[in-house]
């Protein structure tokens, strides 16, 4: 049984990698404006959009202009989604007659979806109208993903360009990513999901008369179209409260494997696309290797931890795995496979309730997020985060060999170092600060669903998820309060823009520089040694930041569990 499951997971990762290479190649062509097989279909639509928006696709932007365009686009997105929720009761496509969403919930949700976090303090099927789900959530699922990739493209151009003042055109990057990459994959995936039982309808909720003669109201809606982009766009915000544990989001074993596949597909492809764009496929492969090592290591620990049954419940004469919060459709192995990937990639969709997982499983999930979502990570921003770690690694290597650090032929100076460190340290520090505030205030503590060490984990998980722009939760925490909606909303904004703005600043600084020749004394960035150093830096930074608090949360709970202590 165990061997079967492990083989299945290896096969899954293998197929995924094989699929990601051609997709990476395709994306590299799209991002550099080359012709692809989709060009004849999509080019007219693309040109039409540029025409009505009076966008000159050859006009280049400085990094500041690029950042300005990105920021106002996000402000418009947040404002629109916020307003849409407040007035949804006056708008059509609201068969369940959802009322206006409370202001703090609406604000938190608007920030959440625009920052690609998809933290949900609301329950979809009892809060949002069909129109809000389509015009609000679905749209931001696409756009926040495209924005992340746009930021990455600017950073890559910083490495590929020389003596240049500009880093690309934000509108073009945004439009191309949405139309050539996300939309076609979403269309195909939505139809596959709908064929398997993911609902796709605008009919009202159905009332069934059960075998007992009771009424059972069954929530439905335009789910497949939202589910598809939710999975491929590293979003994770469910149509339903139970997310992909809900049978109408993820009805069977096949959809589950496909959805897990979709979580990782584009994030992995982007690493290969990076290799193609910089004309150094090996460099992409090396970063892929570092990420894959971290993914497999975390998944291994989580799989082992979750395969253990709860010893306290065992003693009561119960046989079988820890099925609390899990569906029989998926079982333990596929729940952990999903849980690991959804926290590696900043997807945040869940097919099991992480709150009910074993303590060490929860620790792995928090670690994956806490290091900044760099194990493939969110669309665009995941690779950006890893490139920050690369800069840090190169700096450390430079100190060791006594040379100015460089990467891809660009010298990395104090400015690049400072920016990278801001992006790595600020979100991590804010996790600890905000969680510290929450455990010190009654407003923070009243939301707890679990006492003791697990309660600390519940709060820590929430802020880790927000700052990492992940969106999954230890969902027992009642976070739909003004306190949590505002502090988590602030966390999501910091987690997003403390990464994107430094990335654009580095892009601008690097693009201005010329390329230096590599020689025998250059630290090679495509060696096995480099992979080992990069992985070590990620683990050491994560461990130093979080292990003290992990000791009081999941590690202490693990000791309680085996000591038979309950609270």
């Amino acid at each position: 049984m165990v061997i079967e499951e492990v083989l299945l997971i290896i096969l899954f990762l293998l197929i995924l990698t094989i699929a990601a290479i051609p997709l990476g190649k395709y994306m590299s062509k799209v991002f550099t404006g080359k012709k692809t097989f989709m060009t004849p279909v999509i080019r007219p639509v693309e040109n039409f959009i540029y025409r009505i928006c009076s966008i000159d696709q050859n006009q280049e932007m400085t990094w500041k202009r690029y950042a300005y365009a990105l920021l106002i686009f996000n402000i418009i997105g947040i404002t629109f989604l916020f307003a849409l929720q407040l007035i949804q009761n006056f708008l059509p496509l609201n068969p369940a007659q959802m009322s206006s969403v409370r202001w703090d919930t609406a604000l938190n949700t608007a920030i959440s979806f625009a920052t690609n976090t998809n933290w949900q303090s609301y329950a979809g099927e009892t809060t949002m109208s069909y129109l809000t789900q389509m015009l609000g959530m679905t749209v931001q699922n696409f756009l926040s993903a495209s924005v992340g990739i746009a930021a990455l493209l600017a950073l890559i151009r910083g490495f590929t360009r020389q003596n240049s003042d500009t880093v690309g055109n934000f509108w073009v990057d945004l439009t191309r990513t949405s139309l050539y990459v996300l939309l076609p994959i979403a269309v195909v995936f939505a139809l596959i999901l709908a064929s398997q039982g993911v609902v796709q309808t605008i009919d009202p909720y159905v009332t069934a008369q059960t075998l007992n003669g009771a009424n059972q109201t069954i929530a439905i809606g335009p789910v497949a179209s939202q589910e598809a982009i939710k999975m491929i766009g590293s979003n994770g915000g469910g149509f339903f409260n139970a997310n992909s544990a809900h049978p109408f989001e993820n009805p069977n074993g096949l959809t589950n494997i496909l959805e897990t596949f979709a979580i990782l597909l584009i994030p992995i492809s982007l690493v290969f696309a990076f290799g193609y764009i910089i004309r150094n496929f090996k460099q992409g492969l090396v970063i892929f290797a570092a990420m894959m090592i971290l993914l497999v290591a975390g998944m291994g620990v989580a799989y082992y931890a979750e395969s253990q049954s709860n010893p306290i419940i065992d003693k009561l004469g119960v046989t079988g795995g820890n099925m609390e919060g899990k569906e029989l459709t998926f079982g333990v192995a596929e729940s952990v496979l999903w849980g690991s990937t959804t926290t590696d990639v900043s997807n945040g969709g869940v097919n099991s309730m992480h709150d009910s997982a074993m303590p060490l499983t929860g620790l792995v999930y928090m670690f994956n997020m806490g290091i900044g979502e760099v194990i493939f990570g969110g669309l665009g921003v995941g690779l950006i985060g890893m490139l920050f770690y690369v800069i840090l690694t190169m700096f450390i290597a430079g100190l060791m060999i006594g040379r100015t650090p460089e990467f891809l032929g660009k010298k990395l100076g104090p400015y690049e170092m400072v920016m990278a460190v801001i992006a790595l340290v600020v979100p991590a520090a804010m996790i600890l600060i905000l969680a510290g505030i929450a455990i010190s205030l009654p407003d923070g503590l009243t939301g707890l669903n679990n006492p003791s060490a697990h309660g600390l984990s519940e709060i820590l998980y929430a802020y880790t998820s927000a700052l990492a722009n992940n969106g999954s939760a230890f969902a027992g925490l009642s976070a739909n309060t003004v306190f949590y909606n505002l502090t988590l909303g602030l966390g999501m904004l910091i987690g997003r823009f403390a990464v994107i703005i430094p990335a654009l600043a580095i892009a601008g600084a690097l693009a201005k520089k010329g390329r230096v020749a590599t020689d025998a004394s250059t630290f090679p960035s495509t060696s096995a040694l480099f992979v080992i150093m990069l992985v070590s830096v990620v683990i050491v930074v994560g461990a130093l930041t979080f292990f003290p608090v992990f000791a009081l949360g999941p590690i202490l709970e693990q000791l309680f569990l085996h000591g038979g202590l309950t609270f």
């Binding site: 009505i52 398997q196 929530a219 096949l254 004469g317 459709t329 003791s452």
Partner: protein
């Protein structure tokens, strides 16, 4: 300043255009195609008996009474207008209390010995609160009770379980039974 305003105008128009394409055209076209090609799957696989919807193939429901197979515990009492799990952590006393209570109920209802073991899916709640399955093992525990209540042979019920059991991913994993389908099929045996 003029440049900044120009950029803002571009942002507004492109946001509006993409919102229409991605938020209205895309989901409505998907709805149209799905309803035309997979009308049953895209509408929730509703099971009808004599023209009335009795539930969904994919969604669990409550079954009151010893004559029905019972599903897994549900944190939302199988109210399908919502969804969710208990979110109890492994050291939460409330979880242990609930498990204990469920074990006692099962042992009483199914007349099991005090030291009998019970499969975990029967005492641990699903994440959705709507799990339609129980393990075959959990179904077999309930067979003697149902045979007695319905006055039919245990072997007929076991045959039914054999016939309705499935694996969620074709060919892999633990065999399970859909409780609603099983209970509907039970109604056909006399």
């Amino acid at each position: 300043m003029g440049e900044m305003l120009k950029e803002l105008k571009k942002a507004l128009i492109i946001f509006g255009t993409l919102t229409l394409v991605l938020g209205l055209i895309y989901p409505l076209v998907m709805t149209g195609i799905s309803q035309a090609v997979f009308p049953y799957q895209a509408t929730g696989e509703m099971i009808k008996i004599n023209g009335n919807v009795v539930g969904s193939e994919l969604i669990g429901q409550n079954f009151e009474g010893p004559q029905y197979f019972q599903g897994r515990p549900s944190a939302i009492d199988y109210n399908a207008s919502t969804s969710g799990g208990s979110n109890y952590g492994p050291t939460n006393q409330k979880l242990i209390d609930r498990v204990n209570e469920t074990i006692n109920e099962i042992k009483t209802n199914d007349n099991l010995s005090a030291n009998a073991t019970i499969p975990s899916d029967m005492v641990l709640a699903s994440g959705s609160g709507l799990d339609r399955y129980i393990s075959v093992e959990s179904a077999l525990i309930q067979v003697p009770r149902i045979a007695k209540e319905r006055n039919i042979s245990e072997s007929a019920i076991k045959d039914l379980i054999q016939k309705t059991q499935e694996t969620p991913f074709p060919g892999i994993g633990q065999p399970v039974v859909n409780v609603l389908k099983l209970n509907i099929a039970l109604g056909g045996i006399h």
